[in-house]
Amino acid sequence: MEIVQISIKEILQDFFFCFKSDSDLTRLKESIQFSGIRTPVVVLPTKEGYRLLSGFSRYKAALELELDVIPATIVQDEMAVESIFREVLLEQRTIHDFNLVEKAKVLRILDELDVPWEDMKTHFLPHLDLPANSDLIGDVKRVLTFLPIVLGYIEKYDLSLKQAMLFKNLSHRQQELFVGLAMDLEIRSVELSGIMTMFCDIAAREDISIEKVFHLLDCPSILNEKKLTRDQKLTRMKTILRNRRYPRLTSWNENLEILRKEIKLPQSIRISWNRSLETPGISMQIDVRSVEDIDGIMAVLSSQANRNRIGRMLRIV
């Protein structure tokens, strides 16, 4: 196709075919300043102006550099749009793996172009590493209904579809709440998924909103506590969630902890138990470095009061 110079002003800003997330343009701009735009953008003529098919970064860089014209190839045959888009996709695919949001944007474009399912299966889904499963494709498309802040989080931490689907049934306010929490505490997806699940489970069991759980557990004050480090905030948040989610289990473990402290064990003895309480009994690890150690250990363990405490521990576990 012939390369022509077109006015930048004539290019529409709807970015209909743009599926790639914004990237840093500094190096591209330097390159353009040094040697100009070597690869033309591809455009489709419409009544309103030219619609970009490929070359979004070059176009944005040219805009920032306040260029007047840009080299372009003009697609005259509207029927060829689907195949040209496929070539653009393939080109991008060789440069980098698409993240979930980019895949969702590609699917939206294909929908707009009315690409038949059979063509999708053969020509597009393999490039996107997506199986030909309509439910799953529906879920990928649904990602674009999330708030921009969520999309940013999905891209930043490269969330999988399963992880992103945690946001599926959340209101916008709840999406903001969780992404805010994740960004504040720099939580990656796996950890966030555990925290969100606890919030959602507590809300469902107590029949209250997630927002109410957030405030009931005083999460904003934990997040705003300046004296706490990020790790301390996270630990505190998880502890209060766990206590609320598993109140009886927490209480049994607390009682065990109290009894362990009451036994006043020397440093050479450590008592532990399975916190789920599913494994029977308690474990006792004893370090012996001299014969005298044995006397001390025997004294602690044979006292009637301690035997009673251990008995009480065993009844709990």
Partner: protein
């Protein structure tokens, strides 16, 4: 329960099977379609479980359908039950049902090749004639849910009535017993999964009410069948004590303890993957949000102190009604057995033996040989 069906597919290989002919005859208002292997895959690919539960597929299966109950992993004890997987999937819809996660195919498949199943059962019995077997058809479906149209209970009851070392258990949540009432009662245990009515209403959709189940149990008892009751899954709800006490009282207002072959107790447990399915299919259900831990077999279950408390109470209410009931736990740890029963079987084999011993002692009509422990456990 044919009323639950919206479509019947018939594998072209089983068109002339007597069971197929009977189903067709008994379901005049339901569309039938003859299909082959590929058709059924095409017709059912991607359909939801909710839709699949309204489709019956009559077919012939090649693999073995009589096998040991998979139970669960140690240390939890299981009873060495033998399951007959003639039908897979169930038209009823219980929120907690593990089949939602366990079975790949959403439609209800019924294997019409009964002689193949009977051959397998005979082979089992011939392999170990020195021990007593409990067979059941209610593991991957409900034993009686389509009995009005399929009439399987009659075939099984006749087959088992001639055996000397086995019983067949029909486990159900229905009152679909009309066919059953016309057959020999020997070596047949009819059992009901039971829960308080409030739980039945909220979690066991399309099942018979507690009253209907108990009326059916009474009719079966009067006819001469042995009965079974399965408190499984026992669900923790805030008022569980009053609810379970009440349903136990109700059971014994309909039936006599002396005719109950066994009662099982098992609190809710499920593979973690079931949670998402329940959340998606039954958003109003709260069962997956209760306090649960990951058990030593990887399944979610209530923490041990909660299970022990529930079992102790429920067992005491049952024993109040009949001290001689044979009560066992399904998939519980030896420690829980000890805390509730004061003892535990040393192995799955020993639990199997306890069943045989109880049946031998309590039901002489079964004509059993006195069971010997060494026939059930590796000595």
């Amino acid at each position: 329960m044919a009323i639950l069906l919206k479509q019947i597919y018939i594998d072209e290989c089983v068109i002339d099977n007597p069971m197929t002919r009977r189903v067709v005859e008994m379901t005049p208002g339901i569309p039938h379609k003859i299909v082959n292997d590929e058709d059924i895959e095409d017709q059912t690919r991607g359909i939801s479980l909710t839709r699949g539960k309204r489709i019956l597929y009559l077919t012939s299966q090649k693999g073995n359908m009589v096998k040991p109950c998979p139970g669960t992993l140690p240390p939890y004890l299981c009873c060495q039950y033998t399951i007959i997987n003639q039908m897979t999937q169930c038209p009823m819809d219980c929120t907690y049902c593990v089949l939602q996660d366990y079975l790949d195919r959403p439609v209800i498949s019924l294997n019409t090749n009964l002689s193949q199943i009977f051959d397998s059962i005979d082979k089992h019995l011939a392999d170990r004639p020195d021990r007593f077997y409990r067979f059941g058809t209610g593991e991957l479906s409900d034993s009686l849910v389509f009995d009005d149209i399929v009439g399987l209970s009659q075939e099984y009851a006749r087959f088992f009535s001639a055996k000397t070392s086995a019983v067949i258990e029909f486990k159900t949540k229905t009152n679909n017993i009309a066919q059953l009432l016309q057959v020999p009662t020997r070596n047949v245990v009819v059992s009901w999964s039971i829960n308080p009515r409030k739980i039945v209403k909220a979690e066991e959709f399309y099942s018979a009410s507690v009253k209907e189940r108990l009326q059916a149990a009474q009719q079966c008892m009067d006819k001469g069948f042995l009965l079974g009751f399965h408190f499984d899954p026992i669900l923790w709800v805030p008022d569980w004590q009053s609810l379970y006490r009440e349903v136990i009282r109700e059971i014994f207002s309909y039936v006599e303890g002396s005719r109950i072959a066994w009662v099982s107790l098992g609190t809710l447990r499920f593979p973690p993957s079931l949670k998402r399915i329940v959340q998606s299919r039954f958003p109003k259900s709260r069962i997956v949000y209760q306090e649960m831990i990951q058990g030593l077999d990887g399944k979610k279950r209530y923490p041990k102190p909660i299970r022990v408390e529930m079992y102790q109470k429920i067992m005491s209410w049952l024993k109040e009604k009949d001290e001689d009931l044979f009560i066992y736990f399904c998939m519980e740890s030896p420690e829980v057995w000890d805390r509730v029963m004061g003892t535990h079987p040393e192995s799955n084999g020993e639990l199997d033996f306890w069943f045989a011993r109880s049946l031998y002692r309590r039901f002489p009509e079964l004509g059993m040989e006195e069971p010997q422990l060494e026939m059930y456990v590796d000595m």
